[in-house]
């Protein structure tokens, strides 16, 4: 890796480490979210040094653009309750857990440091940038290493060829997550709360276990608050 690559790696690695430490130590949740944002952006820069252009872009769009904004929305919605009060409860078990994780992490990090093969050259298309992007091998299969490694075309081609089914399953997962998030976060309207209270009171009042009377308002879901 070139000297510029070394400089960029060290710069963004330091930023990523400090931002991560700031995220987990910040008292206020909004400051932690800003630390997470800095961490995510510096990781996107590290992805660029690893020749993963598409994933660096996705990291910025999905994490910096969606996840951090979602965090900040929730912090704004909750308000001052999101501040950390600093409790002493479970201090010993927390310290033990943190110490054990620190030891394990240090062991892994310092052992893996010496694992240092040289970076292999990334093969590119013969004939320069204007040549035909995709070549085929003897079996007639287009080579994905021909073309830009980590670029949209080569990554997308291999994604649809090798992982088409998981890709479709991910879309179902995201759909289910959207519906679940709405269902959990929606809360109950006043009418629904009243119906539930009435049902509970009726159940507590009757001494014998009887089939519950049908409460009409219960079966008609009312829209959000």
């Amino acid at each position: 890796m070139s000297n510029a690559g070394t400089t960029i790696f060290i710069l963004f690695a330091v930023i990523a480490l400090f931002a991560a430490a700031f995220t987990v130590t910040a008292k206020s949740a909004i400051r932690a979210a800003v630390g997470l944002l800095a961490h995510i952006i510096s990781l996107a820069a590290l992805y660029l040094t690893l020749h993963a252009h598409l994933l660096a872009t996705l990291q910025l769009i999905v994490y910096a653009g969606a996840v951090v904004v979602l965090f900040i929305f929730v912090i704004m919605l909750i308000g001052p309750v999101s501040e950390d009060k600093g409790t002493d409860r479970g201090l010993v078990s927390r310290a033990l857990g943190a110490g054990a994780m620190a030891i394990v992490t240090a062991a892994i990090a310092f052992n893996i440091w010496s694992f240092a093969p040289d970076a292999p050259a990334i093969t590119s298309c013969p004939g320069g940038a204007n040549a035909e992007r995709w070549t085929t091998n003897e079996q007639g299969v287009a080579s994905v290493t021909c073309g830009e490694f980590g670029g949209v075309r080569s990554f997308g081609l291999e994604l649809y060829r090798e992982a088409g089914l998981p890709f479709e399953l991910i879309s179902i997962l995201l759909l289910v997550a959207i519906i679940g998030a709405i269902a959990i976060g929606r809360g109950r309207s006043n009418e629904e709360v009243e119906a539930l209270k009435a049902r509970k009171a009726a159940r507590l009042a009757s001494p014998v276990v009887a089939p519950e009377p049908v409460v009409e308002t219960e079966s008609q879901p009312v829209g959000g608050e």
């Binding site: 890796m1 070394t6 790696f9 690695a13 990523a16 480490l17 991560a20 995220t23 987990v24 949740a29 932690a32 997470l36 961490h39 590290l46 992805y47 690893l50 993963a52 994933l55 999905v62 994490y63 996840v67 979602l70 965090f71 929730v74 912090i75 919605l77 309750v81 999101s82 950390d84 409790t87 857990g97 943190a98 994780m101 394990v104 992490t105 990090a109 893996i112 440091w113 694992f115 240092a116 093969p117 970076a119 292999p120 990334i122 093969t123 994905v144 490694f149 980590g150 080569s154 990554f155 291999e158 994604l159 090798e162 997962l173 289910v176 997550a177 998030a181 959990i184 976060g185 809360g187």
Partner: protein
Amino acid sequence: MDITLGHYLGLSAIIFGIGAIGFLTRRNILIQLMSIELMLNSVNLTLIAFNRWNPGNHAGQMFAFFVIAVAAAEAAVGLAIVIALYRLKKSVQSDHADSLKH
């Protein structure tokens, strides 16, 4: 100094450790969720670094792609649960989510 695979792996191990320590020591659910995001990101860095040293295919980058998608779904559902907990307890401390205990 040349940057090698070991540097990336060591960096992501340290970031994972910071995330794990944050998850274990903090009691604010929002910051615990952020620590989970830190851990997922460090794993993505590991996968992409390994893929750079094996450029014959995009297997590691594809794994990182799916991890990003699953992390987005996890963040959406997790934050919805935080809002539901806030409605119930008027708090986002994970110590206060103890309805099953009492």
